[in-house]
Symmetry: C2
Subunit: 147 residues, 2 copies
DNA sequence: GTGAATGCAAACTCTTTGCATGACT
DNA sequence: AGTCATGCAAAGAGTTTGCATTCAC
């Protein structure tokens, strides 16, 4: 599976935003840069805190608005692992994606991918009356550090 | 697959609660009765509203406390389908379970079960470093009514 | 110059907690 | 009688919205 460089996501995101008629702005740009550097998902608060730590004082509202825009354009994937926090991560243009396992004890979120699982989900999707547009799988259990 | 009658859940729940040293009470009993009648998942607010509609004025705090207790005892399954609301449904004693598909447009939640999907998840679980204790699958897409 | 993007603060929703009252064993 | 369960209200956490200002085009 050919993996696109992470920087490609930032590029793709800016292009898509412009095509959708959005202007560029400092806050949203900072969120793009931060997300592009990420391996896995972040919550809105984590994004705001991290940007604040870097000196870029981005209002939390702007973070939420940026994430909402990205979501509408399919540029990020929302991940709700329970615990009342929504996390976001870049959605790769190629459609490749992964799922997550959440540690019961420390709350750490780790990514994993599995071809067979994807195929099983595709097969189920065809069987159902719904028009399945997307899916999420969340596993729960103790991570290696917490064993 | 032998399916236990829904009333069995209420019975099992009351037994388990008593064994765990809990007293019985009107509010929690009402929640048990309501959940036992349900085919699929309900949010705390839906439970409270429905009970209020039936004349049983159960405080929302009691609903949350009951659900928390059930969850600790493994009597319900929590389901977080995004949208910032947690839903609960009776966990069948046999361990059989299903997953959910959420309509993009109307928000309706429907249940489905699939053996092959379960097997795929089991296989992935063994491969990972985590001790996988549970899992959730949420599909998203337009339901038949919203096509 | 116009309108979108931003930031602050207030509003909202869902959930949890403190505390006095009432109910179960 | 002693505790636990309940309900109300207040507190918290996460997210959204209103509005004036700033910035991109």
């Amino acid at each position: 599976m050919a993996t696109a460089p992470k920087s490609a996501w930032a590029q793709h995101t800016r292009t898509t935003l412009e095509a959708a008629g959005h202007r560029s702005g400092a806050a949203r740009d900072a969120v793009i840069e931060l997300l592009a550097r990420q391996d896995c998902c972040l919550s809105a608060k984590e994004i705001a805190d991290q940007l604040a730590g870097e000196g870029a004082g981005v209002g939390i509202a702007s973070v939420y608005r940026a994430l909402e825009t990205f979501d509408e354009l399919g540029l990020v994937q929302r991940l709700d692992a329970g615990e009342g926090v929504v996390r976001y991560e870049p959605a790769l243009p190629g459609g490749e994606h992964h799922h997550h396992i959440v540690c019961d004890r420390c709350g750490r979120v780790t990514a994993f991918a599995d071809e067979a699982l994807e195929r099983a989900i595709d097969r189920v999707s065809k069987r159902l009356d719904h028009t399945v547009a997307g899916h999420d799988v969340v596993l729960r259990g103790a991570c290696p550090r917490c064993h």
